[in-house]
């Protein structure tokens, strides 16, 4: 079954690494992104794919292009 928003993510990401480089906790990152800590947790496990607006927000926060943070597993 192809991963979906209901059953799991289809995109890998480097959120955990980028967060660790800045010595932020999940709560810190959640506050900066204006989402819950549980959402950051779900993003980091790679089992939830963010919407485009949230992906752009994450890219802006880390000062990197989206494709440097998120990689399509099917590509």
């Amino acid at each position: 079954m192809r991963p979906s928003a209901d059953w799991g993510g289809a995109v890998k990401n480097r959120l955990k690494v980028l967060r660790a480089e800045r010595d932020w906790s999940q709560a810190d990152l959640a506050e900066r992104l204006e989402v819950s800590r549980q959402t950051v947790n779900a993003l980091e496990t790679g089992k939830y794919d963010p919407s485009l607006p949230l992906a752009f927000k994450i890219a802006r926060l880390f000062g990197q292009p989206i494709e440097a943070i998120f990689q399509d597993q099917g590509a």
């Binding site: 928003a5 209901d6 799991g8 955990k16 906790s25 999940q26 204006e34 989402v35 819950s36 800590r37 549980q38 959402t39 947790n41 779900a42 993003l43 980091e44 496990t45 089992k47 939830y48 963010p50 919407s51 949230l54």
Partner: protein
């Protein structure tokens, strides 16, 4: 160790949710049972306000634990519960007074009107809550309703159809009047949908939480 800590947090969250739902359901069931017994001994009919309030309670229990309430979740839960009962009692009073003031007035439109009175504030509370809920939390609710609630509803269909296909097969239903059987059937379906939704919602979060550090 990190994963275990995360699981402990998830466990606590689930316990709090189960506790709130259990508390609400317990208090309501005790009150409703006592009130029902009293009503049965007097007029023998279910009070209309109880029917109005009943479906709101599990929804309130789930909702108040999902929101980031400024007053705190337990306070919000108790206030919601109190408001819910107050609306129900007011509805009951209107029904009682209505018997004199609106004698001959159709009861079903009056019930619908009271439903709207309850639904208005509920929507006023839910819209801002939905707007400030982040996208993953929304997805959990939407998936819960689509998959969990649907599965819950489908799962209980055989039970609901059994008395029709094989009369007398469910002893409890055989003792009920058609009106009560209809009401219990509706409540059973509603309960199954709510349970399915809740289980899928919790599973959605748990499956996406394990394996990452806090």
């Amino acid at each position: 160790v990190v994963v275990r800590l995360d699981r402990v947090k998830i466990g606590r969250r689930l316990l709090r949710g189960a506790g709130a739902t259990g508390l609400t359901a317990g208090v309501f069931t005790a009150g409703a049972t006592a009130f029902h017994a009293w009503i049965k001994s007097t007029s023998g009919a279910w009070p209309d306000w109880l029917i109005l309030v009943m479906p709101l309670l599990p929804a309130l229990a789930v909702l108040t634990f999902a929101i980031r309430a400024p007053l705190g979740r337990w306070t919000t839960l108790l206030l919601s519960f109190g408001a819910c009962v107050l609306v129900g009692v007011l509805a009951g009073l209107v029904m009682a007074v209505g018997g004199g003031l609106f004698s001959g007035a159709p009861r079903i439109p009056l019930l619908l009107l009271l439903g709207l009175v309850v639904a208005g504030p509920a929507v006023a509370v839910m819209l801002p809550w939905w707007n400030r809920t982040d996208e993953a939390a929304r997805q959990a609710h939407l998936s819960g309703f689509f998959w969990g609630a649907t599965a819950g509803g489908v799962a209980v269909v055989p039970l609901l159809m059994a008395p029709m296909l094989e009369p007398g097969s469910v002893a409890f239903v055989a003792r009920l009047s058609p009106e009560d059987a209809f009401l219990y059937g509706a409540l059973t379906l509603y309960g199954a949908i709510t349970l399915g939704y809740g289980l899928f919602w919790a599973g959605w979060w748990v499956s996406r939480s394990v394996g990452s550090e806090a």
